[in-house]
């Protein structure tokens, strides 16, 4: 380099090799185990759902950038991430057309109208899912249990309903079945105590924890395998892509909440560990609530945010009308994010300077 081509800029002159794309890529890598699990349990269906979401999200973002005559921002991979999280939080058998509608809504209304990545107040994937729930309520609550699966695996459901054996011969990919959380809900909604007890005993009589841990259960595409999700979460924590604050506060507050209910009425409310491993709680704790854009910035506010999400999820699950509350819990807390940031304003070390 010749001397007259020196580069001048304000300091610092060195930097950490990190970029927005790398942050997003890390999260996508962390989602891979869950993707593999989904592909294992739901076979081709998983591939179709994820591919549809990814393609429609990226194309939507690209078109919007073109229309607004802006440089394309698909390179930051955030659209891909939104797509995968959306795909993971819908029922596996959701029609492709619905998936496309959800993806377009996520990106266009959830993110781009606010000015793109970083300016969206709500988690785009959750917003897309909420839109789908509002539009296609029936399809969004029709769950399937993977059918062509090894019958040796621990199972969940009423005794004797060995789903796998029953349907394997018919070559089905999945069968419609309620989710573990729906049974939980039924038990809570049951009119009498005996009724609730029967539901719990029938459905959670054997191996239920193992089933939700490995993922052999009804539920959203990417939520079923807790093990795979935890693997991804640990990867992100080790890579410091996320901090421990939000996952721990979400999980701890949900656990404590569930434990209190379980402690007083164990015949109606299931084991708190089961609550943690089923439904979308883990994907929420590690992947959705940790979305940097829509959660607060200071540690204190992040902890409050996490506790809010955890408690809201459990409130909806136990007291609310829906069996699962991740989506609404996250969206509600997203709305509180600016408030929390304001509430937890940091004081500079040594106090506030008097000369402003």
């Amino acid at each position: 380099m010749s001397k007259d081509k020196l580069f001048v800029s304000p300091g610092p002159h060195i930097s950490k090799p990190i970029s927005t794309r790398m942050v997003m890529l890390d999260v996508i890598i962390a989602l891979l185990p869950a993707l593999l699990a989904a592909a294992y349990f739901f076979r081709l269906r998983a591939v179709i759902v994820v591919a549809t979401c990814v393609i429609s999200c990226v194309v939507t973002e690209w078109i919007i950038c073109k229309v607004r005559k802006q440089p394309s921002s698909i390179g930051d991979l955030s659209a891909v991430l939104t797509a995968i999280i959306l795909a993971f939080s819908v029922p596996p058998m959701l029609p492709v057309a619905y998936l496309i509608i959800g993806s377009v809504f996520s990106i266009a209304i959830g993110k781009m109208v606010f000015g793109g990545l970083g300016n969206n107040p709500f988690n785009p994937a959750m917003l897309g899912r909420a839109f789908l729930t509002a539009c296609f309520g029936m399809a969004m609550t029709t769950w399937t249990v993977p059918a062509n699966i090894n019958p040796e695996l621990p199972q969940i459901g009423p005794k004797g309903a060995t789903i796998a054996e029953k349907y394997q011969d018919q070559g089905l990919e999945g069968i419609t079945e309620a989710t573990p959380l729906a049974w939980t809900k039924n038990a809570i909604k049951a009119k009498t105590l005996e009724q609730a007890e029967t539901i719990i005993k029938e459905n959670f009589g054997h191996s239920q924890l193992k089933a939700v841990l490995i993922g052999y259960t009804g539920g959203c595409l990417g939520e079923t395998s807790s093990l795979a999700l935890m693997l991804g979460g640990i990867y992100m924590l080790l890579r410091r892509t996320i901090t421990w604050v939000i996952p721990v506060s979400v999980l701890a507050s949900a656990f404590i909440f569930a434990e209190i209910f379980h402690f007083f009425k164990p015949e109606v409310y299931v084991n708190p560990l089961f609550q943690i491993f089923s439904g979308g709680l883990l994907i929420c704790a590690f992947f959705i609530a940790t979305d940097p854009v829509t959660n607060p910035m200071t540690t204190k506010a992040q902890a409050l945010f996490g506790i809010g999400v955890g408690v809201l999820i459990m409130l909806i699950r136990t007291v609310g009308a829906y069996p699962e509350g991740v989506m609404y819990a996250v969206l509600i807390m997203n709305a509180f994010t600016p408030l929390l940031d304001r509430l937890c304003k940091k004081t500079p070390i040594g106090g506030v300077p008097n000369a402003a």
């Binding site: 002159h13 060195i14 927005t20 970083g118 854009v293 940091k346 040594g350 506030v352």
Partner: protein, 413 residues
Amino acid sequence: MSQHIGAPCKPTVAKRQEVKAGDVIGDSDAFVSAKIHSPVDGVVKDIANRSHPVLGRELAVIIDVSEDNTAKLPTPESFENFNLQDYSQEQILNAISEAGIVGMGGAGFPTSVKVAPNEKMPKHTMIVNACECEPYITCDYRVMLEWTKQFIAGVKLIQKASGCKEVHIGIENNKPKAIAAIKEVLANTSDSESIDVVTLKTKYPQGGERQLINAVMGKVVPTGVIPPMIGLLVCNVATAAATAEAVVLGQALTHRAVTVSGKGIKNPGNFYCPIGTSVSDLIDHCGGLTDDAVKVVLGGPMMGFSIADLETPTTKTSGSILVLTKKEIGKANYLGQQTNCIKCGRCVGVCPENLIPCEIASSVKVRDLDRANRFNMSACMECGCCSYVCPANIEITGLIKTGKILNARNNRK
């Protein structure tokens, strides 16, 4: 003529005048100022504006070095038999002032003003900043290692002059050799009872006064308060060494140790060179630039100033010259792609002053200075950590610097 905080000096020499090494060439009547001396024998060629690493362009005295100039060499051996009792407080203060010594860590506050006992703010504790302020720089480390006795003598002299009762030498644990050397000298010389060595964890930023005081004494300095107001005196290794030279040998501050480093330089090293040596001379001495060098920085990689003109002279506060390659700079060239702030909070996590840098930066970007001030912009010390970690590649520190300048401009109106 402006190598320190305070009033710039006025040249005291005329064009074509002959000067000897150590002659005063710039002086000022102001209280907060420091004399400037010629480091060489020669003839004043010109008095004109020249590039200045920080201030853009400043008045400078340009001296043609005469052929019979003898290079000044470091004289650490003069301090073998140093005895503190030989020097009175007045004598020390006078020597510091005459030698034009300033804080050589980077700020350049005149040492005479800093050290002089002040009845309103009596100083009780002195902290020696022996943690190399920024990565890459090693000039203080070499001074501590090679001129240990001189350095310790300087520390004792400053302690005596300022009336501090105790001295802590704060040094990072990545310099075990220097720690051992200092401890040995302290054990074998007199008047070192009140001096102790505090080993600190290596981290950046630690060389800032507020960070250092916190690390050494566990004491938080209130925002907007300078250390003397709470009875503390912080001084740097090179300053102590220069003080010893000034008091014992009566020599002015005309030379200093400079680190020349970075991947863009062929033979990096530490050099004892005349103040005012141009950057290009030093680079040539080190074998010149490599082909992939893209940036020359005076000072450290985090807070230093990149320069466009290689003829820029070094000053009393230039501890290092870094030549960085494109690879070293990484994404910090700001021509690279920026994304929107993703509000990840990484800058919040690293800020040593507990600020929310991204909010200040975004406020400055839209020129909302009131909002920036509400986020305590003035408490920022511009360490650069926020820009360093930013995944969106936003020049947060640069924006905050801009905001402060705009603030100052508004206040002047």
